[in-house]
């Protein structure tokens, strides 16, 4: 078994321990329901014995039977709701923890993993654990406790019958162990076979456009059918053996029933007691059946645990350093011999970089891609911490600033701004939720968002982002400029803001950006010729170092 599987197993075990504590309420309610069922069986046996013996209707045990039925139904609803609540609580706990980890790990995470994959872990993988917490954990606890309760009651009056129950009950795990496969293995094989078929199916459906375009749809349909048939043959060969151990449960049930019936028919116990014991047979084996059904949930949880265990570790507790903020106007930036490496295999991204930007001035970072331009900005944004060296804002080391303080100081516009699901107005207000309507309108006008918003069906209230109206790259960049304007931070960081725009749009966007830079400290990363128009000092980066200065751009 490899390390990831071990990690997943360990993680799931740890979750199961917490969940078992949460499931105690479910267990108590379900055991109470079992107790009621035992009492009902006793009432039914008593009523029946009296009817068979003397004739007529024995109203007292029947009334008790009816009352117990209502109690049992109530307990059933309560325990089921408790189980659902436990499942929901576990998912809420896991999801909050996962989201907290992801948000703390921050943007650096997106260098290694795709946001769609992470979202699917947070949503679908955690949803897939519902059965494990809501069904499997309670069923596993009850599979031992409920039969034990039945056994104890039988033992009190009839030790021989108790021995029959115990023997039949033990036959189940014993036969499973003997077969070396067990119902567990049967369920696992069946689950894995289905999962393989589904993975292939999903893969082909996701790539269906590629298949259709190469004119191979019919071939793939036939291949899919053949794969399913082949899989069925192989799976059935396995199941033929594996179901033998499921038969152990049926054998145990039938055996208990027959032995108890023969014993009763031979008159070795009072008939009432014999009937009572017969009625308990279904109660005794039902939790074992529920457990066997819930085993699938455990298998599914094993599949989901791997990706969850692979999430970044929780953030360390807040540092005990003296936390500082920095005067919010006129920020001077300095890098002093800063080093940073993303991946040792690819060498350092920043290799002893030093530079200074006085307050209110503009620095253009130039150089080929991979020279470290984006890394400089990500250090300043607090996405990553330098491995060595010092980065200061107005003389304060950046690692001593609380993230909120740093976020207040900086505004950032990247290559392709992310627009969230919501209206254009929501997306601009994202920069500063408490901004007034007047400030918002000012930002819209400044960034010329009003120019294209007027042509949209619902103006600023047009939904954009997932499921909304698709904005062009230039329009999205205008929204980003409006965000930065609304935020009004003293340090403006621009990362190739026009890289994905055509020249005409680029010129328009640069014009807006130039107005935005007035009175701010600006660091612009770009290898676009148009960025020359920005003026300011230029720093050429080569392999994470400042290249020899070639003068002012």
């Amino acid at each position: 078994m490899d390390a990831t599987k071990q990690a997943a197993r360990g993680w799931l075990g740890q979750q199961a321990r917490t969940a078992r504590r949460d499931a105690r309420g479910v267990l108590v309610l379900a055991l109470a329901a079992t107790a009621a069922a035992i009492a009902q069986a006793w009432c039914a046996a008593a009523a029946l014995t009296s009817a068979l013996g003397r004739g007529g209707i024995a109203w007292q045990p029947l009334a008790a039977f009816a009352a117990l039925a209502v109690v049992r139904a109530g307990l059933g609803v309560a325990s089921e709701r408790a189980a659902v609540a436990a499942g929901a609580a576990a998912r809420r706990r896991l999801r909050t923890d996962a989201l907290h980890r992801l948000l703390s790990a921050g943007p650096a995470l997106l260098r290694e993993r795709h946001s769609g994959e992470l979202a699917s872990i947070v949503v679908d993988r955690i949803e897939a654990l519902d059965g494990f917490f809501g069904r499997y954990i309670p069923a596993a606890a009850l599979a031992f406790a409920a039969p034990a309760l039945v056994l104890a009651v039988v033992l009190w009056r009839d030790p021989v019958a108790a021995a029959i129950f115990a023997g039949a009950g033990l036959l189940v795990p014993f036969a499973m162990a003997l077969a070396g496969l067990g119902a567990a293995a049967a369920a696992r094989r069946q689950f894995e076979a289905l999962a393989r078929l589904q993975t292939r199916f999903l893969d082909r459906v996701r790539g269906i456009a590629t298949i259709v375009m190469y004119g191979r749809a019919e071939d793939e349909a036939v291949a899919l059918g053949q794969a399913a048939t082949e899989l069925r043959r192989r799976t059935m060969r396995v199941l033929r053996v594996a179901f033998l151990s499921s038969a152990a449960l049926d054998l145990a049930t039938a055996l208990a029933l027959i032995l108890l019936a023969l014993r009763g028919a031979a008159g070795r116990v009072p008939p009432g007691q014999a009937l009572f014991e017969l009625l308990l047979v279904p109660e005794f084996f039902a939790p074992l059946r529920t457990f066997a059904l819930a085993y699938q949930d455990r298998l599914q949880a094993h599949g989901a645990a791997g990706p969850l265990a692979s999430l970044p570790p929780p953030p360390p507790p807040a540092p005990a350093l003296p936390v500082r903020t920095v005067a919010a106007h006129g920020v001077a930036v300095a890098f002093e011999d800063v080093r940073f490496t993303w991946d040792p295999a690819r060498g350092p991204a920043l290799d002893g970089l030093s530079f200074r930007v006085p307050a209110g001035e503009t620095l253009v970072l130039a150089g080929p891609s991979g020279a470290g331009k984006t890394t400089v900005l990500e250090v300043l944004l607090g996405f990553v911490r330098p491995d060595a060296g010092r980065v200061t804002l107005n003389g304060a080391d950046i690692i001593t600033l609380v993230p909120q303080a740093l976020a207040r100081l900086t505004a950032w516009i990247g290559q392709q701004p992310v627009l969230f699901a919501g209206t254009i107005r929501d997306n601009i207000r994202f920069a500063r939720p408490e901004a007034s309507e007047t400030e918002l309108v000012e930002a819209v006008r400044f960034a010329r968002v009003d120019g294209f918003a007027a042509a949209l069906p619902r103006g600023l209230d047009t939904p954009v982002g997932e499921g909304g109206y698709g904005l062009s790259g230039g329009q999205a960049q205008r929204v980003a400029i409006a965000r930065a304007f609304l935020k009004d931070a003293p340090l403006l960081l621009l990362d190739e803001p026009t890289a994905h725009l055509d020249p005409a749009t680029e010129a328009e966007v640069l014009e807006s950006l130039r107005r935005l830079t007035l009175g701010r400290t600006v660091i612009l990363a770009s290898h676009s010729a148009a960025a020359h128009a920005f003026g300011g000092r230029r720093l050429d980066l080569r392999e994470g170092r400042a290249a020899p200065v070639r003068g002012v751009a």
Binding site: Q40, A44, A47, L48, T49, I57, A58, L62, A73, G74, E80, R95, L103, P107, L110, S115, L118, A119, V123, F201, D203, R204, I208, T210, I211, V212, Y214, R216, A217, D219, A221, T229, R232, T235, F243, S246, A247, D250, A254, I258, L260, A261, G264, A265, G267, P271, A274, L275, P282, G382, F383, P403, A407, T410, Q416, V418, A421, E466, L471, D502
Partner: protein, 543 residues
């Protein structure tokens, strides 16, 4: 529910196996119930002072029969289920392939397809968890009526009504409620998914604007909505289960009352009733699953049997000799209420021509590919291939001549060889290596364990992004199409690789024509013509 009926009809091809599964399952159920009844009868006979004749022999026969039949039932129902599943998936795949074109891969993100695949899976449980126990209920109903009816007809009517409520009415109600709640659940789940995807895709924005707390709160609010919707459905399920249980208990009470009126054989009837009600006890819960399956079935049927978006012409024109591609006065929008993508676009890619089309993302560059490949039809204007309007050609003819490398080409979780052969099934080993060399990934493939037979992983996971793109390109180059549309072929390449790739592209293409769709040029491409997309038209740029 009608959609579910359609799915059942699709299973018709496997009807023999499915029915056999049900028949054996009925036999197994019958022996199980008889075993309980005979056990009860044997014990009851002692009280009334007699003995059930042949009880011991019956028990000895029924016990093994029950175990064996139950084993056969498991085998046969699973075998039938696997057959039905295979049939359903192949049917779905064929239907979707014919309509795929309805924008799949162009407009719908992969997660829509994943959800559809999930919907097909949701139909799997209908046979085992619902149809088989329902058949059992139908068999047990008259048995119960006769057994209790011997004692008292009115009580028998009560028991039968309670049994029917538990086996048929409650499950149906649960299914209806679940189907109604299904839409709400799906909306709540989609809401959570969008909120999470937003926050994670926008991690940079979130950190830069210090919005972690706000985003977490937004996601938790969506989660709370989802949990509330699930909770409401679970509460219904719990009450349905409780109602079924009370029906069973009331039925047993009626049997016990009847026992007082007619003691003979009463113990057998009681245990028979216990077994009968137990057999249907899970049906109300199965009803909830059927309700969700019905909603899933609706979506599956719509996707696989809806109208074909671009049907082939009834009388196709003869295939063209040439393969020059010309777009003429196109006006196009994906649907009447979505924005107009092209408005009077005219553009030509001559045979052996090298043409680039520039435009920002979102300007409709991939819509042009969709029109060229007969995935969509223009509202005005036409697309000519070798001088013939492609509306008069079968899609297969067009697609055999126009190759396509999409921005997000799917790599299948299969070997490199299988991924390449998709483009040309009869390609020999040398042709495969030529294509890999042309796409500059030959060395990488040589280095992999198994070389051509190395697995690429899910979505090409065992390759880097750039390597995956190059493998997809090798596949496109392998196809015999005389015209290739390359949609941002260098996305995911670093600058150096991009330039090297584009510089060699000209030689690699040989006699083929190319339409290169990119948002900007690097300057190393060798092109005959450059067009720029602007306001829905192609405008000539520097040649």
């Amino acid at each position: 529910m009608r959609a579910l009926g359609r799915v059942l009809k699709l299973w018709g091809a496997q009807a023999g196996w499915l029915v056999l599964g049900v028949v054996v399952s009925l036999a197994s159920l019958a022996t199980g119930v008889a075993l309980m009844a005979v056990s009860g009868g044997a014990v009851g006979a002692i009280v009334t002072g007699g003995a059930l004749v042949g009880a011991t022999l019956l028990l000895h026969l029924l016990g093994p029969a029950r175990v064996v039949l139950r084993y056969l039932e498991r085998l046969l129902t699973h075998d039938a289920l696997f057959r039905a599943l295979a049939g359903l998936r192949v049917w779905f795949f064929r239907g979707l392939a014919l309509r795929s074109a309805g924008g799949l891969g162009f407009r719908h993100a992969g997660d829509v397809l994943s959800r559809l695949a999930g919907d097909v899976e949701a139909l799997d449980g209908v046979y085992l968890r619902t149809l088989v126990p329902l058949a059992g209920a139908v068999m047990l109903l008259p048995v119960l009526a006769v057994a209790v009816g011997r004692a008292d007809v009115r009580l028998a009517a009560v028991v039968v009504l309670l049994f029917a409520a538990s086996a048929f009415v409650l499950p149906l109600r649960a299914a209806r409620a679940a189907a109604a709640a299904g839409a709400g659940l799906a909306t709540a789940a989609a809401g959570l998914r969008i909120a999470c995807l937003d926050a994670l895709t926008g991690l940079r924005e979130v950190r830069a604007f210090g919005a972690e707390g706000r985003m977490l709160a937004a996601m938790q609010a969506r989660e709370a909505a989802l949990l509330a919707a699930q909770h409401a459905l679970a509460r219904r399920g719990a009450w349905a289960g409780a109602a079924a249980m009370l029906c069973a208990q009331a039925g047993l009470l009626a049997v016990l009352v009847a026992a007082g009126l007619h003691p003979a054989g009463a113990a057998a009837v009681l245990l028979l009733a216990v077994a009968a009600f137990e057999a249907v006890s899970l049906l109300p819960r199965a009803g909830v699953a059927v309700g969700s399956a019905a909603v899933a079935a609706q979506r599956v049927i719509e996707a696989a049997e809806g109208p074909v978006p671009v049907p082939d012409p009834a009388v196709p024109a003869p295939p063209p000799r040439g393969h020059g591609l010309r777009f003429e006065g196109l006006r196009f929008a994906w649907s009447p209420d979505s924005p107009v993508v092209f408005d009077g676009l005219t553009l030509e890619v001559p045979e052996r021509g090298r043409v680039a089309l520039l435009g920002p993302s979102g300007a409709g560059k991939s819509s042009l590919t969709a029109l060229a490949l007969k995935v969509a039809t223009p509202q005005q204007g036409r697309v000519l291939l070798g001088g013939v309007d492609i509306a008069t050609l079968p899609a297969a003819v067009v697609r055999a001549r126009v190759g396509w490398l999409a921005q997000a080409t799917h790599l299948f979780n299969d070997t490199i060889r299988a991924n390449l052969l998709l483009a040309r099934p009869d390609a020999d080993e040398a042709a495969l290596w030529d294509a890999l060399r042309a796409a500059q990934i030959e060395d990488v493939v040589h280095g992999l364990p198994g070389a051509l037979d190395a697995m690429v992983g899910e979505g090409g996971a065992s390759l880097s992004g750039g390597q995956g793109r190059r493998l997809a390109l090798a596949r496109a180059l392998l196809s015999p199409a005389p015209l290739l549309i390359l949609d941002e072929p260098c996305a995911g390449f670093d600058a150096e690789t991009e330039r090297a790739f584009l510089a060699t592209l000209n030689d690699v293409l040989g006699e083929r024509a190319m339409l290169l769709i990119v948002h900007r040029l690097t300057g190393v491409e060798r092109l005959d013509r450059i067009w720029r997309l602007s306001a829905g038209r192609a405008v000539a740029a520097a040649a």
